[in-house]
Symmetry: C2
Subunit: 365 residues, 2 copies
C-alpha cells in the first residue's frame, strides 16, 4: 500500500471513496437540493462564518481566480503579500486580469512581516485589496492570518482575499471574527476528499466589491451561484460524485468537531517536525513557530540529490513525497499531513527516510 504523503491529493478513507461511487441523481432535483443546502450549511460551520459559501467544480486555483474576478476591476490596485509559489500565483492571476499589482514578496521560508505589510499599505493608500495565502504548502509556512487580517481590516479597512486552500478545515481560521472577505479552499486538502471541488466564502463587503467589479466572468461568477442557490440548484452541472463524498465527510467533520480536528493537525505537525529533526534534517521554514501543521517542508542537506531521495523513497519504500517547486526544486522535499493522517503514517515515512538518507550519502548533522 502506497503511503501518499504529498500535500494533496491526500489519502482518502474507504467510506468516502465508496461515497464517490454513489449512483447519479438529478442535479436539479429535490434530493440534490437537500444535499446542496446541507453541505453549504456545514461548510459555513467549518469556515466559521455566516457569509455565503459556494461550491465550485474546479481546483483550488479556480477558487483563487474567483476571488479576484468577483471583487476587483482592471486597473484596481491590489497588494499581494506572498511567501511562496502559491502566493505568487495569486499575483499572476491578478495581473492576467489587469490588476495594478503591488507584489510584496517575502523570502521563501519566511512568513508575512506585519510592519513591512503596514509600510506597503502606507505607501499604497489607494490599494483596494490585500491578497494573502494562509498556509503556503510550497514552503511549509503558515502565516499568522489573524494578525494579518487585523492589520488589513482594522488598521487599513481594505478588502482581504485569502487563499485558504490548505488551511481551512485543518488550521484554525475564523472567517467572521477575523473579517475575511473572501476565503478560497479545495476539497483534496483537510476536507478528507478527492480533488474536484473548491469552496469559497463571500462577505457582504465582497458582494459590495462584486457590484463595482467589471471583470469578465461567467463560470466563476459568484452572482450566478447566488441566483441558483436561492432555488437550491448549482448554476452549472456539478461533480455529483464529489458532492456525495462531501456530504459524508462534512457529517464526520461536524461530528468530530473543529477543535479536535485542529488539535489533531497541530499534534501531527509537531510529531512530523520532531521526527524530521531527530533524523538530523532541518525544517525549511526559518522558525518553528511558523512551520505548517498541514505540510512540512524539509531542507535537502547540502550535496545530496533530492530527486534521488524522493525516487528511492517511492520505489523502495512506497512513500510518495513532494519535491520543491520553482526555485525550490531540488532544495527541499515536502511531506503532507492533512486530513486523517495518523502518527503511524508519518512514522512509516520517517523510518523509510532513516534507511534512504545514508544510502544517498547523508552522514548526519
Amino acid at each position: 500500500m502506497v503511503n501518499l504523503r504529498i500535500p494533496g491529493p491526500i489519502p482518502v478513507n474507504d467510506d468516502i471513496l465508496e461515497a464517490m461511487g454513489t449512483p447519479m441523481i438529478n442535479h436539479r432535483g429535490a434530493e440534490f437540493k437537500e444535499i446542496l443546502y446541507r453541505t453549504t450549511d456545514r461548510l459555513k460551520k467549518v469556515f466559521s462564518t455566516r457569509n455565503d459559501v459556494y461550491i465550485i467544480t474546479g481546483s483550488g486555483t479556480s477558487a483563487m481566480e474567483a476571488a479576484v474576478v468577483n471583487t476587483l476591476s482592471p486597473g484596481d490596485k491590489a497588494i499581494n503579500a506572498t511567501v511562496g509559489v502559491f502566493g505568487n500565483r495569486f499575483g499572476i492571476i491578478s495581473e492576467r486580469y489587469g490588476v495594478d499589482l503591488v507584489s510584496l514578496e517575502f523570502p521563501f521560508g519566511s512568513d508575512v512581516d506585519l510592519d513591512i505589510l503596514r509600510n506597503c499599505l502606507n505607501a499604497n493608500p489607494d490599494a483596494k485589496a490585500v491578497m494573502v495565502t494562509h498556509n503556503e504548502t510550497s514552503t511549509g509556512v503558515t502565516n499568522n492570518l489573524e494578525a494579518i487580517a487585523s492589520v488589513v481590516k482594522k488598521e487599513y479597512d481594505k478588502l482581504i482575499l485569502v487563499d485558504g486552500i490548505s488551511s481551512v478545515c485543518s488550521l484554525p481560521l475564523e472567517t467572521d471574527e477575523w473579517e475575511l472577505d473572501v476565503v478560497a479552499t479545495a476539497s483534496q486538502k483537510g476536507w478528507m476528499l478527492p480533488p474536484g471541488l473548491a469552496f469559497i466564502s463571500f462577505s457582504e463587503r465582497a458582494w459590495e466589491a462584486h457590484s463595482q467589479s467589471n471583470m469578465p466572468r461567467f463560470y466563476l461568477d459568484m452572482a450566478e451561484y447566488k441566483r441558483y442557490y436561492e432555488i437550491g440548484q448549482p448554476p452549472f452541472t456539478p461533480s455529483v460524485s464529489c458532492m456525495f463524498a462531501l456530504d459524508l465527510a462534512l457529517q464526520q467533520i461536524i461530528d468530530e468537531g473543529m477543535g479536535s480536528i485542529f488539535e489533531r493537525h497541530a499534534s501531527i505537525g509537531r510529531y512530523t517536525r520532531d521526527g524530521i529533526t531527530k533524523l538530523g534534517l532541518r525544517i525549511f521554514p526559518v522558525s518553528d513557530s511558523i512551520a505548517s501543521n498541514t505540510c512540512t517542508a524539509v531542507t535537502v542537506p547540502e550535496g545530496l540529490d533530492g530527486s534521488k531521495l524522493m525516487s528511492k523513497m517511492r520505489e523502495d519504500h512506497q512513500v510518495v513525497l513532494a519535491g520543491g517547486q520553482a526555485s525550490l526544486n531540488g532544495k527541499i522535499f515536502r511531506l503532507g499531513h492533512m486530513g486523517t493522517t495518523k502518527e503511524s503514517d508519518i512514522q512509516e515515512a520517517l523510518d523509510a527516510l532513516e534507511i534512504v538518507l545514508p544510502e544517498i550519502g547523508f552522514r548526519g548533522t
Copy 2:
C-alpha cells in the same frame, strides 16, 4: 431503482462508479502521467482528431468559456448561431468577455438554416468566428454540423467554435474532416461518466487565434494546459477520481468502436421517438430529421400540466424526466438517452407515461 432519464448526468454503470472510488495517487507522478497520456490519446480518437485535446476539471460550461476566451479578444466580432438555451449561453459568455456579438437566433425546435447563416456571414464579413451548438438538449435538436462547418470553413474561412457537450462520443462528429477549430464536451453525457470533467480540442488555427487573443484567463488558459501536458502533468490539481473513471470508460469506448456507439444512439433515439409518437404525443423539433439521438424533447399537449406529469412520473414510477428551460418551461419535457441507455430503460419510461398521461387528463390525439 430510479430511472434517471435527464440529458445528463446520465446513469453510470457499476464498474465506472467503482473506478470513481479508486484510492488517490500523486497527480504529478509517473502513474498519473500514464493515465493522462493514455486518456488524451483515446480522447483524440473519439474526437476524430490529431488536434490537441485537453481535460478541464469543470462543467461543460467551463469548456464553452474556454473556447471563447482562448480564441477571441474584446471587440472581436463573432456570430453565434443558436437554436436553444445552450446556444444562447455561448452568446452570454461571449458578451461577458466583450465580444461584439452577432446573435443569429433560430426558433426553438428548428435547426440552423444554412442560407440564413450565409446571409449573416455576408452581412458580417469582419466576423472572426462562428459559434454553434452541435446538439441542443434544451430543444432536442441536432444541427447538421458537417454542413454548417462546410459553410463556415470552406465558404467563409472563419474560426468555428463548437459546443459538442451532448454530442461528442454519441453522435458522429469529425473534428479534423470537418475542420472544427474548437470542440467542447463534458463527461456526464455520452462518455458514460459522472460530471466533473470537460474535454476540449484545439486546432492549429485555434492556437493561431490564441496567440492573437488578449482575453484574460488563467484557470481556463489552454496555454497552461499545453505547457504542463508536455511534461505529463495537469496544470491544476484535477479530479483524480474522474480521471480513473475516464480511463476505464475510454477503454470500453475504444473496444466497442465509435461506429457501434453511433449506431446504438441512432437506434435508441429512433426507438424513443417511435414510442412517444405511439402514445399520441408530439416530438418538439419541427422535423424528425433534426431530432436528437441523445435527448428527445416532447411537446406537453395543450391544457396539460407539464410539471404534474414530471412529478407523477418521478413519484409514482421513479422515472426522472427533465422539464423545459427558459421560455420552454412547462411546454416540453425531455428524455435523455445517452451512453449505455437500453431499450428497456426507455420502454419503462414509455410504460409509465402511458399510465400517467390519462391520469393528468390526456385524452389522446
